[in-house]
């Protein structure tokens, strides 16, 4: 082959304004994460942002708590149909996991401590998800909905309460996972500063 083989990792298009950021020194953020918008993006200590995750602060401030994991292709602060600008677009509590391709829309949306937002799930604008909830893959939470603590949403909107009482264990597991991810994902917070 005469043509030079180009990098298999295409560059991430940095479109739009570069948002102001406030990072803790202990976070891990991949080089190819996408941070756009005009409002402040705050990421608290030991959180991990995977490659190609998208944080969009165009509609308000994005806050990511301690020891959160935002997986690839997840979107925080997606501008939904409403498109209004609020003070705090998306707030994640501590120990929140946002899995692959999940989308959390902007507009005072709150995700409580220890909640797992499953693969491809969608949380509407202004929804308040309680602590230690599990949203299984492809779950949709409507805009403005309030989900109580320890709720499991599964199978197209069925709900039950998680009575296992494993929240502490889950948080410990998350800390272990972050220890490993920190070694695997090359972090480059300087790029976004």
């Amino acid at each position: 082959m005469s043509s030079k083989r180009h990098s298999i990792l295409p560059p991430v298009s940095q479109s739009g304004p570069k948002p102001p950021v406030h990072f803790s020194s202990s976070i891990t953020i991949a080089d190819s994460a996408l941070l756009i918008g005009t409002n402040l993006i705050v990421i608290h200590s030991e959180s991990v942002i995977h490659p190609r995750a998208k944080l969009d602060s165009l509609a308000g401030r994005i806050t990511v708590g301690r020891r959160c994991i935002v997986h690839e292709r997840a979107t925080l602060g997606a501008v939904g149909t409403s498109g209004k600008i609020t003070e705090a677009a998306v707030t994640l509590g501590d120990y929140v996991t946002v899995e692959v391709g999940a989308s959390i829309e902007a507009g005072e949306t709150v995700i409580g401590e220890g909640t797992v937002v499953g693969v491809g799930a969608r949380v509407g604008a202004g929804a308040v998800v309680g602590k230690h909830c599990t949203l299984t893959p492809h779950t949709e939470i409507a805009a403005g909905e309030v989900v109580p603590d320890f709720t499991v949403v599964y199978s197209n909107g069925m709900r039950r309460t998680d009575k296992r009482g494993v929240a502490e264990l889950k948080n410990k597991g998350q800390a272990r996972q972050i220890d490993v991810l920190r070694r695997m994902i090359p972090s480059n917070p300087a790029k976004f500063a």
Partner: protein, 198 residues
């Protein structure tokens, strides 16, 4: 006139793999492709999530650590926007990722996310399917569109599954094996694609 051929949409390797230039492969050194595999644009493979704990038999023999994170067999077809990532869990008190193994003639539909421990041969995975962590999919399995396979599920050979969460809804009929063959599909993509035989 330049003799250099125009740069195609795909990179075609010596072993016949067709990898789209717009695919996102992270940690390429840990991704094994068996050959004749098609990777369409916007596919993401997380090869950087390697296992951190080696099997005890390996560490004892002093063999070099096997860092393969994702291994894919021959004639696999990864459609646009799908994502393969190795599953991870706590093992002996520490967190580790485990390799994702995929057999031959596996079709992965657009937008699907695969975190299985192993996928057999001749498996058809539909559109927007989620395969949970450490699921084991055996040979000749058909997973219909929009299915959510829960973590740790084992899907036996020749079954058809669908639903959220996935349930067994049927079996592959007698003589239905040929439909899993992906050789013809392989020829229809690439830099000089051929029309599908009618």
């Amino acid at each position: 006139m330049s003799r250099r051929p125009p740069r195609g949409e795909y990179i075609e390797t010596d072993t016949g793999n067709k990898v789209a230039r717009k695919a996102t492969l992270v940690g390429t050194q840990n991704i094994m492709l068996g050959g004749k595999t098609v990777i369409q644009p916007e596919v993401m493979i997380r090869g950087d999530l390697i296992r951190t704990i080696q099997a005890s038999s390996q560490s004892a023999s002093g063999a070099p650590p096997n860092n393969t994170a994702v291994s894919i067999g021959r004639y696999c077809f990864l459609s646009r926007g799908c994502c393969l990532r190795p599953p991870g869990r706590l093992y002996k008190g520490t967190f580790t990722y485990m390799p994702l193994r995929m057999g031959d003639h596996v079709f992965v539909g657009p937008g699907s996310v695969i975190q299985a421990a192993s996928v057999g041969s001749h498996v058809h995975i539909g559109t927007n399917v989620v395969v949970g962590e450490f699921a084991i999919i055996k040979d000749y399995v058909r997973i219909l569109d929009g299915t959510v396979v829960p973590p740790n599920m084992v899907i036996p050979s020749l079954s058809i599954v669908a639903g959220q969460p996935a349930r067994l809804i049927g079996e592959v009929p007698e003589g239905g094996h040929e439909a899993f063959e992906l050789r013809d599909l392989y020829k229809t993509v690439g830099n000089n694609p051929q029309p599908a035989p009618s």
